[in-house]
Symmetry: C2
Subunit: 142 residues, 2 copies
């Protein structure tokens, strides 16, 4: 090791560690926000990803989880009148999930609360959040 090196590269282990810690915190705070709206975390994540009509399978793909999990999640959202589940006329195996008006309202409220109440990210100003956003996009590559 050269003794005069100014800035050693961040060790992967430490970045992984910090990422774990950050996401633990974000998840905890996310859970507080969603809990206040009486939504479980997977319900909330699902709610945030429904825009137009979407099949159960496509929803699962968006959430990158197994399709078998969607049934229970959508059951819960449906029981609260937040989504409808309509069979597709062309192919009656497929069920199209759409937000009800109340679902749209709650989605909006959830977004607003998240913007206000996720304090870990609140420590970043717009520029810094933009920077983080760019890095995440690069890493996640989508």
């Amino acid at each position: 090791m050269s003794p005069g090196s100014q800035q050693r590269p961040a060790p992967v282990v430490e970045v992984v560690d910090l990422l774990f810690e950050l996401t633990d915190r974000v998840k905890a705070q996310f859970a507080v926000v969603t809990g206040a709206l009486e939504l479980q975390v997977p319900q909330a994540r699902t709610l945030l990803r429904i825009n137009g009509p979407v099949s159960m399978r496509d929803l699962a793909a968006r959430l990158r989880c197994d399709a078998s999990n969607m049934t229970g999640i959508i059951d819960g959202l449906h029981a609260r009148g937040l989504v409808e589940r309509n069979p597709l006329p062309n192919d009656r195996r497929v069920k199209q999930v759409v937000l009800t008006e109340e679902g749209k309202r709650l989605q909006t409220r959830l977004r607003q609360r998240l913007a206000v109440d996720v304090p870990v990210l609140g420590k970043l100003d717009d520029t810094q959040r933009q920077e983080l956003h760019a890095i995440l996009l690069r890493v996640v590559e989508r």
Copy 2:
């Protein structure tokens, strides 16, 4: 909305979403690496945090989990001869956990594998990883 705005601030929702996705991927890859060394994820995270002698409670604090979880985790590491659990002479309630020589070797191997085999972070060059590291430190604030 002004139509000519150049760069809207990254919405918190999207950053949260990307963070979830990134950490899901990092965790999945982390699990692959640790699984190859026959370590469960919490065992590996614990192994990475033991340097000098440390009590069960302090370890739990480092991992930010409840102390009741440490028993099983350390049991597993101990069964593989990676750690020792020595009662503190001054206060025999406390058990000091230390790495065995084999524990140190495995810790090193684990670090090396993580550096090589976490491809999501491998997409970043040193400078970019440094940037992410700095942001994480700022956000996590420690």
